[in-house]
């Protein structure tokens, strides 16, 4: 079904408010879920709402929590999310880092819930004229190279850079595909693309049903594995949170969140740095207008495609799975 974006937002807010969430917090969480669906990252959209409500019911999310900041230096804060909603904590952290007005500021966050898409956080940083980098760990879903068991998170990376125009926005998982997509393809009887997953023996497979019992592959082979693992170590070490199979509580409704988030804000400064945004924008335009490969339609830079899709869906509505919409509506009763 196609849903008006404001109807989706309203439904999420009302569900959360009905479950005791203060209005502004409900609005922030709704915003991030809606952005997932607007940009086509449905695994970070409305379909997350039932788990969030279940976590509220079990007090794994405290809707009234405010993060506690412990500044270890003018540039580094260790933050206890105190079981708050991921977006409520995340945006408060971003704002605190931006307020510092320093060349580099870092926050290592633990005890917070799922951030959802990373794009909205780095976009807020870019809108303030700075560079934002956000890393977060996830449940172990990705197999090591040469292995068959999921030991590494899908550990996404978000990077936002101001350009004078629409920002550069990278928001990508280090897994080849989401676990949700494997499950969706298995249900629909659709084949996976080569390189997306392995079966229980660690053999690459395009059979989604076999992949359900296996693991997601890292994107880009051994390099993607190495990168995803590096991000897991950096985040876990800086935040004092868990690694591998001990990371829990972002996909499920039963475990406290044991993942970590790392937020970095960089403010280029010094001689010749004032125009860095327009300089980066000009470079990105060079790339967009560089010669295309034979048969290629368009050269994008990160953020372009999501921005086009978002605009189209704001106008024409958001495709939502019937079951997902029904499940969300039932949370009102």
């Amino acid at each position: 079904m196609i849903v008006d974006v404001e109807d989706e937002r309203e439904l999420i807010e009302q569900v959360l408010i009905r479950h005791g969430v203060p209005g502004p917090v409900a609005a922030t969480q709704a915003e991030v879920l809606v952005e997932g669906d607007l940009r086509g990252q449905h695994s970070h959209g409305l379909q997350r709402l039932p788990v969030l409500v279940e976590r509220l019911r079990r007090h794994l999310i405290d809707p009234h929590a405010r993060p506690r900041f412990c500044w270890h230096s003018p540039a580094f804060a260790l933050v206890d999310g105190r079981r708050g909603f991921g977006p409520a904590v995340g945006f408060e952290v971003v704002d605190a880092l931006l307020e510092r007005q320093v060349p580099v500021a870092v926050a290592a966050v633990r005890g917070s819930n799922h951030l959802g898409m990373l794009a909205p956080y780095v976009e807020r940083v870019a809108a303030a004229g700075a560079i934002g980098i956000v890393l977060t760990t996830s449940e172990a879903l990705v197999h090591p190279w040469g292995g068959r068991r999921a030991m590494v998170g899908t550990n996404p990376i978000g990077v936002g850079v101001p350009t004078g125009g629409p920002p550069f926005v990278l928001d990508m998982s280090t897994g080849a595909i989401s676990r949700g997509k494997v499950l969706g393809h298995a249900l629909a009887g659709k084949a996976l693309e080569p390189g997306w997953a392995v079966d229980a023996d660690g053999e690459p497979t395009t059979d989604a049903r076999r992949a359900v019992d296996g693991a997601v592959s890292p994107f880009g082979g051994p390099k993607g594995y190495a990168l995803g693992l590096a991000l897991e170590l950096v985040v876990a070490a800086c935040t004092g949170t868990e690694t591998g199979e001990r990371v829990l509580g972002t996909l499920d409704g039963e475990h406290p969140s044991t993942k970590g988030d790392l937020f970095v804000v960089l403010r280029p400064s010094g001689p010749g740095h004032d125009d860095f945004a327009s300089r980066m924008g000009a470079y990105l335009d060079e790339i967009r207008h560089s010669p295309r490969a034979t048969g290629a339609g368009r050269i994008d830079v990160p953020g372009d495609r999501a921005r086009r899709r978002r605009a189209e869906r704001q106008r024409a509505g958001v495709p939502i799975d019937d079951e997902v919409w029904k499940a969300a509506q039932e949370l009102m009763t």
Copy 2:
């Protein structure tokens, strides 16, 4: 030919000293080239020496230069490398960041020469008990996704994490392959692997001779392109250095270096962080000992393979291309 590692080191040092480089600086530069060959990254080994000497002759490298630090905050320095050797500047920057003893310290470096491999820098940070991240830009060699022209650097990333034992060491390019490997395969008439490069029309090719006129592909498809481009923007913005086709002076003997380097040192601190290194080491051991895919030999984590190769070559000698050795020896005359 097989060369004793100490003979290689001695040759490089003597060549550099003969060209006016002070002994300690020659030793540092030699160390990083030797490490490239020891670990099998020959494109960052002895074969770079003729270009370094040419750059010395043309005063594009100043062997006496000391980097100038401008601390914009207790955690952030803008560094002018003043045309120094990349490793001389790089290690001085690493040491300056470590000396700060703060939770996060960042140096944005411009005006320095080629760093060589990134592993030695992040290993020094890890040996000091901290986490090191090094990014650097390179000449445009990689095509954008959907494009045919090289517009993005191979922009490598280095990450070092202490583990209580041998450190985790990631040192990888965001290109699928080095330009040197394309040229080498073309000379030898060897085929490339699928996904490594495109021809002049932007068509994927395994014909190395056609790839010479084309461009290197990013690793991991569109995600690798997005990541490499993000790193280029972050480094160029923070260092005030060039982007895309304006990045020059690391592969050639004629242009001033216009690339940038970003060094980050993170010191996890706070309750529960004291044992972070051993915690990360235990997690990496879990991965190494996790179930292997059918037919897979061994599960490594980043750093393992290079460490094995390095130990073997220290013992048995380093394979060096005859022409490369001859060219280096001729620099003595």
